[in-house]
């Protein structure tokens, strides 16, 4: 294997002589060529490739949001096909769980974990309708520009949560530019942008596209159990202007003068729009009602501009975000902050992927397939680098499992089956103690409450304790030998066989009280608890 890798790196060095993006080959090859070029430039030794079990766990979590079952793990590890990794990627991309996982990832990227609605936090249940709508898009492999268009048009049932969360004009401008354009224009709201050419007038020009947009909650009872969350409607008024307070004082009111600012695109063009209808009176709205669709929609004009193939921000923002989702760090980091002071790590590669993504008509699944089939994605988890997100991708990134991934994976690990893993909702305690384990910069931080919960929380213990039908119980009562039991335990929880040292240690631990069934059950619970509590389980690496 390592001889092959040497050969490949030798080939890579020769590939360096060719300019990036010059061939029409597979994107994954371009990725690997450029990443290697980055290592060469930074004088970083090329990392090894991940082992099979590490790749297996990584790709399951990244593509379907949960660890593999023991059967799935065995099938892959025992497969001798040299193309088995590519084969597995294909299988997982076709799995309905892929759409579900993507819906979670994009929901959290767009709305954050603790986004606030006017009347409170968007709880886990409150966003389920949005997630189901997103999953439908990914299931149909809708092109990314179409998905973005639908979210900003907000006409489909379920798609409106983006505007329900970002309900004020300022919030819309901030969220749309951050999520879809990866720019931080909100800095220019109160002062001209510190290091971009954007002025306050540019900001208010953007606001002109959204100032007429409004969101209302649909009255009436939500779904019986509120499982899918509240419903919203998004509408647009026919009139209304973004106002900008100038420094000049109005002699009459003694206040700063406000002037309306025409809608203006981020790159400078002013929107041309028909004259506003004279004597237009906005209709009176009942609660839960939005105005009739205007003859001329500014928001739609913005969406057309944003999703045009020559828009300089849109595709690059998407590519950077998808890359970061799988590689840990965007070429530009933080992922939504392109600016002249924040140079990308691999500028040529970013350009190449952006061009290819547009050429492939914003096909997200294709992009994901190319990324996870690259050697860069499949790099080892070992080595001396301590950074969770190495800048030059010289080791796989380390990320904590999301609380959704953790919940599903705990069900898989303890042998409760895929159906139960898919149905399981994170409890409010899980969300509270494990929901947002990073600081404002995306660095993982453990909390005392997380660990106290893992130690002593009833819910967590309930999964580890031998119970009718779960894996701990099957192992406790099964007739196979202890070596085989420990092997099965490791495969189920950590997706790998135990080392001989681990096997010996766990067999010894589990068999220390052979005559006392209660003590033996406690020891089984302990062993499962240890495996689901350790770093190896908590993180995707």
């Amino acid at each position: 294997m390592s001889a092959l890798r040497l050969l490949l790196s030798a080939l890579a060095v020769s590939a360096l002589l060719r300019p990036a993006g010059a061939d029409d080959g597979r994107l994954r090859d371009t990725i690997d060529r450029e990443i290697r070029a980055g290592w060469a430039k930074e004088k970083i030794a090329a990392p090894a490739q991940s082992s099979d079990p590490v790749f297996l766990r990584r790709v399951y979590l990244d593509l379907v949001g949960m660890i593999p079952t023991a059967e799935e793990a065995t099938a892959f590890l025992e497969d001798t096909d040299p193309k088995k990794r590519e084969k597995l990627v294909g299988t997982l991309l076709a799995d309905p769980r892929f759409a579900r996982q993507q819906s979670h990832a994009w929901d959290l990227a767009m709305l954050g974990r603790s986004a606030k609605l006017v009347d409170g936090t968007v709880g886990h249940r409150n966003r389920e309708r949005f997630r189901q709508w997103l999953a439908k898009q990914f299931e149909a492999n809708e092109p990314y520009d179409r998905i973005a268009t639908k979210i900003l048009r907000a006409e489909d049932d379920g798609s409106q949560l983006f505007f329900a969360v970002n309900s004020g004009t300022d919030e819309m401008v901030t969220a749309v530019s951050r999520v879809f354009l990866a720019t931080q224009i909100q800095c220019a709201k109160c002062h001209d942008h510190p290091y971009e050419p954007w002025t306050q007038k540019d900001y208010h020009g953007m606001a002109g596209f959204f100032v007429r947009t409004m969101t209302v909650e649909v009255p009436g009872k939500p779904e019986v159990t509120n499982q899918k969350g509240k419903r919203y409607l998004v509408g647009e008024k026919a009139v209304g202007e973004a106002l900008f307070a100038t420094e000049e004082i109005d002699p009459k009111t003694k206040k700063k003068q406000s002037v309306p600012i025409k809608p203006k695109f981020l790159n400078g063009a002013v929107l041309t729009e028909p004259e506003a209808p004279k004597d237009y009176v906005e209709p009176k709205l009942k609660p839960g009602e939005v105005p009739p669709k205007p003859a001329f929609s500014r928001r739609e004009k913005f969406v057309e501009w944003m999703t045009a193939t020559d828009n300089p921000y849109f595709a690059r923002a998407a590519v950077n975000r998808v890359w970061a989702q799988f590689m840990g760090r965007g070429f530009v980091h933080p992922v939504d902050d392109f600016n002249s002071q924040n140079a990308p790590s691999n500028p040529e590669l970013l350009k190449a992927i952006e061009a290819a993504f547009v050429a492939h008509k914003f096909d997200l699944k294709w992009l994901v397939r190319e990324i996870v089939n690259s050697e860069a994605y499949q790099a080892t988890d070992l080595g001396p680098v301590a950074d969770a997100m190495p800048k030059h991708y010289e080791r796989a990134r380390i990320r904590p499992l999301s609380v959704e991934e953790l919940t599903a994976s705990l069900h898989v690990a303890t042998g409760l089956g895929l159906e139960s893993a898919l149905k399981a909702e994170p409890s409010s305690q899980m969300l509270q103690y494990l929901g947002q384990p990073t600081d404002g910069q995306g660095r993982f931080q453990g909390s005392l409450s997380e660990h106290l919960f893992l130690h002593n929380g009833d819910q967590f213990r309930g999964l580890c304790r031998p119970n009718k039908g779960n894996l701990p119980e099957k192992l406790l009562t099964g007739s196979e030998g202890w070596d085989a039991k420990v092997e099965r335990l490791f495969l189920s929880v950590l997706s790998r066989p135990p080392t001989s040292e681990e096997k010996e240690r766990f067999v010894k631990y589990l068999t220390a009280d052979p005559k006392d069934p209660k003590a033996a059950a406690q020891r089984m619970e302990d062993a499962v608890w240890v495996l689901v509590s350790c770093s190896e389980f908590r993180f995707n690496r």
Partner: protein, 429 residues
């Protein structure tokens, strides 16, 4: 605004504390450390730790909005006065409510700010604003003061959490952009630990499974020095230490003797627990006293509350002083807002932010003084208005925290207090 802000930068203080955590981790990697933690929980060691670290803060939070006119800013003879009478205190020229007789003996320690002028006069937004010094309408996850003090005052070697909230009546605003390491550790109203802090398995089981976990973690870490793994492991170790040190929260034995002085109720016990925790090295403890929202019957409500508050707060100040802790421990008496000078038709007072009172003591604050004043009937600030940011800048400065400490949320810079906030120099020793 031409300053270049390095995206993703963070301050060196953060790195320092992280590094020392890592160091702590390395010394425990041998496995022997588990046995040593027992020694750390020994009370003498805790006292030694406490002496070594910096300043602390106890925040007494009057949930619901406390009336300034019926406590520290009385208006005798005015139509807004109400029935309570002022009494003389230890300090000439400072008079306070007759239902605070014990506090009257400690007025030499108090800096009474009678010119609070604040923006958010409803409970949710006021609680947020007076815990973070930012309005909640900004929709940025600002950390509450406890998290900020925890971040800059924590002793990474301590067995105890760095931010303890006794009762959650005052609201949970969280560590925000500072991260979960500084989230409040919430205990019950009377200071007792939450259920899941008590071991779910016997001590010997806890120990042996801890060893097995240690075995797994050590092997895993051999070729994986990743920071998240280390952070995970570190908080696991801190949790084990907390479980062993949890007796610090159990004040039952000493409470028997203290309860006569503090008042035998949950707020008295909360104040006593706060004392014990600060003594044990916890840098921030908040205790809330609930039920001040007196839209009806303001006077009986306040009379009952003040009679609980007075002995608890006064005993806390006394005990901090007797133990030599007061000079390093800031004690804050605050609320989400004050109450209207006007008395409504139900003999109540409503929410009021235009001119109300917050009291500081200890931790380097110069006591025995008023700062600012409201006008004759208390409807407006007359001298030296103080806003949320000014108050927090004062508290942070006396606690040794830079009021303009800069943090990042993604790429966006955020400061500990808003632009323009000024510490009240007259109160700082």
């Amino acid at each position: 605004m031409n300053r270049i802000i390095p995206a993703g930068a963070c301050n060196s203080g953060h790195h320092l504390s992280r590094r020392s955590l890592m160091k702590g981790l390395l010394t425990t990697a041998g496995g022997a450390a588990v046995a040593n933690w027992g020694a750390l929980t020994h009370s003498q060691t805790i006292a030694a730790e406490a002496k070594r670290s910096g300043k602390r803060c106890i925040m007494l939070y009057m949930e619901g909005g406390v009336s300034q006119i019926d406590t520290f800013d009385m208006k005798p003879g005015r139509p807004t006065a109400g029935p309570f009478l002022p009494i003389r205190t230890k300090v000439n020229g400072i008079q306070i409510c007759e239902y605070l007789p014990n506090i009257a003996k400690h007025v030499d320690k108090l800096a009474i700010i009678r010119s609070m002028k604040t923006q958010s006069v409803d409970h949710g937004i006021g609680g947020y604003h007076m815990h973070t010094c930012y309005p909640s309408s900004q929709r940025v996850p600002h950390p509450e003061i406890g998290a900020m003090v925890a971040k800059y005052g924590e002793n990474p070697d301590s067995d105890l959490p760095s931010f303890v909230k006794i009762g959650s009546g005052s609201g949970l605003y969280g560590a925000g952009y500072l991260g979960p390491q500084f989230e409040p550790f919430v205990v019950a109203d009377d200071g007792k630990l939450p259920g899941f802090a008590n071991p779910s398995v016997a001590a010997d089981v806890q120990d042996r499974r801890g060893e097995l976990l240690n075995f797994m973690e050590e092997r895993f870490a051999e070729q994986r020095p990743g920071e998240p793994f280390a952070a995970h492991r570190t908080s696991e170790l801190r949790t084990l230490r907390l479980v062993k040190a949890r007796k610090a929260f159990d004040v039952s034995a000493e409470w028997e003797r203290a309860k006569a002085r503090y008042g035998n109720g949950s707020f008295g016990r909360a104040c006593f627990t706060a004392l014990k925790l600060v003594e044990a090295g916890v840098p921030f403890v908040e205790a809330s006293h609930t039920g001040y929202d007196s839209h009806n019957d303001n006077f009986p409500v306040h009379k009952a509350n003040l009679q609980v508050l007075d002995p608890a707060w006064a005993s806390l100040l006394q005990d901090l002083q007797d133990r030599g802790l007061l000079k390093d421990t800031l004690v804050v008496w605050t609320s989400e807002f004050g109450r209207t000078p006007a008395i409504n038709f139900q003999a109540g007072r409503d929410h009021f932010g235009r001119a109300w009172t917050v009291v500081l003591a200890g931790g380097g604050i110069k006591g025995g003084q008023h700062y600012g004043a409201s006008n004759r009937d208390g409807f407006e600030v007359q001298d030296n208005p103080v806003n949320e940011g000014d108050l927090f800048a004062t508290m942070y400065k006396t606690l040794g925290i830079n009021p303009r400490a800069k943090h990042f949320l993604g790429s966006r810079p955020i400061w500990a207090t808003p632009d323009g906030s000024k510490p009240i120099e007259q109160l700082l020793g």
